[in-house]
């Protein structure tokens, strides 16, 4: 079985796992929910105050998702370059 075919199967499995939540959890909010840890800390130590806050925060959800997209894109560009380079080298 060729590598491409094998990897296609693997990616389909991954895709199925990513899509399943939308089917079994219709109506869920799919929040990032770092807040959940905050809540537990609030229960356990109601008096705890964070003693440091981020130096800079993305001013909005849009800007934050932009930066996450940039992060993924930078990594993706490198991965694509690498795969193409190696494949081309082997093919001669």
């Amino acid at each position: 079985m060729s590598t491409t075919y094998k990897n296609l199967i693997l990616l389909l499995f991954a895709l199925a796992l990513i899509l399943t939540p939308f089917i079994v959890q219709q109506g869920a909010d799919f929040a990032g929910a770092d807040e959940k840890a905050q809540e537990i800390i609030g229960e356990v130590r109601p008096d705890y105050e964070p003693w440091f806050s981020s130096l800079w925060e993305p001013p909005s959800g849009e800007v934050e998702s932009l930066l996450f997209a940039v992060q993924a894109a930078l990594g993706g560009v490198f991965l694509g370059y690498y795969f193409g380079y190696q494949k081309g080298k082997v093919a001669g």
């Binding site: 079985m1 590598t3 094998k6 990897n7 199967i9 693997l10 990616l11 499995f13 991954a14 199925a16 796992l17 990513i18 399943t20 939540p21 079994v24 959890q25 869920a28 909010d29 799919f30 929040a31 990032g32 929910a33 770092d34 959940k36 840890a37 905050q38 809540e39 537990i40 800390i41 229960e43 356990v44 130590r45 705890y48 964070p50 003693w51 440091f52 806050s53 981020s54 130096l55 800079w56 925060e57 993305p58 934050e64 930066l67 996450f68 997209a69 992060q71 993924a72 930078l74 990594g75 993706g76 490198f78 991965l79 690498y82 795969f83 380079y85 190696q86 494949k87 080298k89 082997v90």
Partner: protein
């Protein structure tokens, strides 16, 4: 072999989906800025710094010995960069993200990843307000030290036991991912013991919150790592042999 995997995976996925379809609270991986008391934040920095030093030395040694490995090192970093930017939905109805450090740990060993993982965390702490500078030591210890150590250990152990390459890679990446989150739960439980029941009671709470969310994401990370690994075996066999990843 892959046909058998298909046959196994469908019932396995069914079991995962059913067992996880109960609504549960969510959690994202990194400990947020300011959310570890000063003494704990400091302790985790002290714990992680030796690994950073070892990482620097290891990167230097690997690259000097074989400059052509630089590109592969870039691949390991890029993979962690992409995966930790992908906040994926989980069957618990919340989102979390994979770590992507298992691949690099298999290829270069855990020391190298202690450095690369910390760079990813620093980027997210500075630009995305995700994780934090004060909690960088703790987060680096879970994602860049424990995760890679587990991945590396499992890969080497299974390969010694003649496990198939795909299985060793899959389990190494998936369990490395899970161990990162388990470590985070321990770190939070140690810093915030419950008034009744102490550390163990807190641990149960923190674990219940995120361990379940993370299981399908660990599987996804395992699958993606195997995919990249398949490519490397097909097109980079020599370098894998140089790194003693393949014998």
């Amino acid at each position: 072999m892959y046909r058998r995997l298909f046959q196994l995976a469908i019932p396995a996925m069914y079991v995962i989906v059913v067992s996880l379809s109960l609504p549960r609270p969510a959690y994202a991986m990194h400990i947020m800025e300011g959310f570890l008391p000063l003494e704990w934040a400091g302790l985790w920095f002290l714990m992680v710094i030796p690994f950073w030093v070892a990482g620097l030395l290891a990167v230097k040694a690997k690259v000097e010995g074989n400059p052509s490995l630089k590109l592969l090192l870039g691949l390991a970093g890029a993979f962690a960069f992409v995966l930790s930017a992908l906040k994926l939905p989980s069957v618990t109805g919340s989102c979390s993200h994979p770590t992507g450090v298992g691949l690099g740990a298999i290829l270069f060993g855990p020391a190298v990843m202690s450095l690369l993982g910390a760079i990813v965390l620093l980027f997210q702490a500075l630009l995305l307000a995700h994780g934090g500078l004060t909690t960088l030591g703790a987060n680096a210890f879970s994602m860049a030290v424990v995760g890679p150590l587990v991945s590396y250990g499992i890969y080497r152990f299974l390969r010694k036991g003649k496990a198939p390459l795909w299985l060793a890679t899959f389990l190494a990446a998936a369990l490395g991912n899970l161990s990162t989150y388990v470590t985070t739960a321990f770190q939070l439980a140690l810093a915030f013991p419950a008034e009744q029941g102490g550390i163990s009671a807190s641990l149960v709470k923190f674990m219940a919150v995120f361990a379940v969310t993370q299981v399908p994401l660990a599987v996804i990370e395992g699958l993606l790592t195997v995919a990249v690994f398949n490519f490397l075996v097909a097109y980079n066999k020599e370098e894998l042999k140089d790194l003693a990843v393949l014998s």
